[in-house]
Subunit: 219 residues, 2 copies
């Protein structure tokens, strides 16, 4: 039997061996990072661990320790990689829109953020992780996300002056909080505070309500 395995290894037919791990550190590092991101996006942070990542990446967990210094470093790498979120989420037709007032801007940003978060499972998991735990890992990841989001907002916002007499920081925090919780609750259970959110029609109603909310404070 020892002979058989040796012969198989020498042959490298690849039929039984789906992917022969070649000797390429860069590729392995990328595979690990990709596996971690996918695992986090699909399974959530509950079963996110060294063993699970290594299993999905198809390599030994020892390599995660060697290349990323353990789970913490890997999470940090995910956070650093989160910067790519910004350039993927900038629509091209910003010039074609006429954002005359702060209300126009916030309405557009809210809807864009809603849509962006709705089809980005990784980002959703990170947000859910943020409100569930307070470890060093999460703190780093949260910081990276906040930074990426801030950068995104900067890119989207023109040079519109915010209205006076309104605590825009607090109001906007509430608006974005509502969007995040809505999307998270919908992704988890298909509804939020009794409001069913499954098909496109449900989401249209939510978007209309969101517009109304934004227009209510920002004219």
């Amino acid at each position: 039997m020892l002979n058989e395995t040796a012969v198989a290894a020498l042959e490298q037919t690849g039929a039984a061996e789906p992917e022969k791990r070649i000797r390429d550190r860069g590729a392995t590092e990328r595979a690990i990072l990709k596996a971690a991101k996918n695992l986090l996006a699909e399974e959530g942070f509950q079963n996110f661990g060294i063993n699970a990542v290594a299993r999905r990446a198809g390599c030994d967990k020892q390599l995660i320790y060697r290349y990323y210094g353990g789970l913490d470093g890997l999470v940090e790498a995910i956070g650093a990689d989160l910067g790519s979120w910004v350039k993927d989420r900038i629509p091209e037709d910003t010039g074609g829109m006429f954002l005359l007032t702060y209300g126009d801007l916030m309405e557009r940003l809210s809807l864009l953020f809603l849509e962006a978060l709705r089809d980005d499972p990784l980002m959703r998991r990170i947000v859910a992780w943020e409100v569930s735990e307070n470890t060093e890992q999460v703190r780093r990841l949260s910081e990276a996300r906040s930074k990426a989001l801030g950068l995104w907002l900067d890119r989207m916002r023109g040079s519109l002056a915010p209205p006076k007499g309104v605590d825009t920081a607090a109001v906007n925090a509430l608006i974005f909080a509502s969007i995040q919780h809505l999307v998270l609750a919908a992704a988890a259970g298909g509804q939020c505070a009794g409001l069913v959110l499954k098909n496109g029609k449900d989401w249209e109603k939510a978007a209309t309500a969101l517009k109304r909310l934004v227009r209510g404070v920002y004219g």
Copy 2:
């Protein structure tokens, strides 16, 4: 040495033995439920398991299987116990307030809900659990919470007619979503979307913004 322990047991001085477990099924059941609730409220759902609950309750985990049928039954018992949330959270001065419009009502409800959620760690953990997982346990708990919240809203709401032309279900879902996420994020990291939420002054600003948001849609 065997003599020593025997003597100690007979003496029941209680100095070395903090709490001698007496033979009382009802008390034990209550101790388990209380331990589970406290554990969930303090530690979160991450380290919530049979062993941890039994450890905190100071009894053997076997009793949890016997009395509650495992963790699932225990979680269900927590959910059933959640009904007590309603009667604890109904202010006594409802008669003293004059809620003339739907806007008055929603403003008051929003602020009450914000305050209630802010000093109820167990409820916070459950909400965080809801948006993080989708197991049967969480689903049951979520249903119980939703029911309790609905009952609370019914008790608080008079017979005010909602305004026409507004999707109150969607708008209210957004409002409550914003409150929940704000409180959760604050409890986890002390801030929400860049808005620091630590001392009372911060929360006053948030409450003002919330009022403005509600008044914006409901006049």
